[in-house]
Symmetry: C2
């Protein structure tokens, strides 16, 4: 297959690394430094100028921020061959699906969310095994042609992923809680701590707890501003749900209500039961 | 030296493992299962009944929750030999220091906070190298005798720790931000996510981001209820500071203010500059 990847960062680049042995993979990145580095690292065989890399493609994969996916997707569908399949990898789905809901080539498009990532970004963050063993959500599969869904499933399986079908709104609500909220909290915590006076020797007394809580705060502003905006109603709802619970814990602390605090923490301890490996 | 450790969990047990080769280390834990397990694992040479393990000790180390330290400390100082040194390992300091500020044997006591830990608790969580390379804060050292401070410093250095002196209030305020707040956020996030409907297959779509954000939510209810209560004014202030910043991010998201969101995230990205290794 001829595979064309738009956006050669953490996700696009990792897909390239996972597929380059069995397919001809070319790509494009609008950042010239990233484009050069992607070829040097062998994430793609060749860097081909936009939009010409769409013309020969059997499969096109968009690995750019969700706002850019929404903007590019109608044009990409317009341009690709009638038997090509177009996939994207965004962390939100409803807005993207709406952007092409009436497109005459909607059947050639499959909305996908490979749930994998690190706090790093750009072509140097790409890893051959990033997707291995992770879940890829396919959204609104009934709006895609059977052939396009089959191609998408085969591709993610070749990357070692397990497929999970979902509807767009359910996906966006769930991800607001399990992923987008976590990132918002890490960004806020990092700032709160970074603004402590210089007299606090953070490097000396920050333990492993803080390290794991602020890891995500290193994530890309472009990627995450785009996700927060695109999924803003669910993200704001998750933040409000969260804030009410924090107020409850704060009140128990202010009230010196020891049994309420313990009960709160015991309830939190049960997260492992819901999440298996966590 | 004869060292007696009260509380044979994560911290007390790890100190025992680090010191048992060069000292005679005995201990006590009020939980009979933990006491038995501590001896089986060799965290201490012998389990000796409270309060008799105090009588022969050159050094007594309290590794129990901070509320219990406050209660036990005056009694421990009353009972120990006139040349013994008493240390504790609590995550808060002001309340503990106040509890013995007028004690006639105040000079024999050194308030210490070895900053090390994991999300696990009890004797099975103890690790020989848990303290290695970490920082131990010594608080209000000027209220301890020079000899007691020397003994404390030597002991923590034998565990591989670097010593940092601080005042009690500055310690409690800083730790509220860099440690206690992180734990509060993890507890709240774990609950928020755990309460999602069963139809959300969390084990399938929770990525590595959520894993690192809820790791601390497995921490001990006894330990953390005690810390939150003991340090409640600083913890509540840190939560309020935090909440204002979260409101600011939420407002930027609601207002679709892309440049404000990006600026917020860029500022968060700088956490690495303040914290070295983070």
């Amino acid at each position: 297959m001829n595979i064309s990847i738009i956006g050669l960062g953490l996700i696009g680049g990792s897909i390239g690394l996972a597929l380059r042995k069995t397919h001809r993979v070319i790509g494009f990145d609008q950042n010239p430094t990233h484009a050069k580095r992607a070829v040097e690292r062998g994430l793609v065989e060749e860097h081909v100028t936009w939009p010409f890399l769409l013309d020969e493609a059997d499969i096109v994969i968009l690995g750019v921020p969700v706002g850019a996916i929404r903007e590019m997707l109608p044009f990409v569908l317009d341009r690709v061959r009638p038997d090509a399949v177009v996939l994207e990898t965004g962390s939100t789905k409803q807005g993207i699906c709406e952007a092409v809901s009436t497109h005459p080539k909607r059947g050639q498009f499959v909305a996908c969310h490979p749930i994998a990532g690190t706090e790093f970004s750009g072509p140097d963050a790409a890893q051959e095994n990033l997707l291995l063993g992770k879940t890829c959500i396919i959204v609104e599969g009934q709006r895609s042609s059977d052939q396009a869904v089959r191609v998408a499933q085969d591709l993610w399986k070749q990357c070692g992923m397990v497929i999970l079908p979902m509807e767009a709104d359910a996906h966006d609500r769930s991800l607001a809680y399990v992923s987008h909220l976590s990132h918002a909290l890490a960004f806020v915590l990092a700032q709160t701590v970074a603004d402590l006076p210089d007299s606090d020797p953070l490097d000396r007394f920050a333990g492993s707890g803080l390290v794991s809580m602020v890891r995500l705060a290193k994530s890309s502003p472009d990627t995450w501003a785009s996700i927060f905006l695109d999924n803003r109603s669910h993200v704001v709802a998750a933040i409000e749900d969260w804030s009410e619970r924090l107020e409850q814990l704060k009140k128990s602390i202010s009230d010196k209500n020891e049994s309420a605090i313990k009960e709160f923490i015991q309830k939190s301890n049960t997260i492992t039961k819901r999440t298996g490996a966590l």
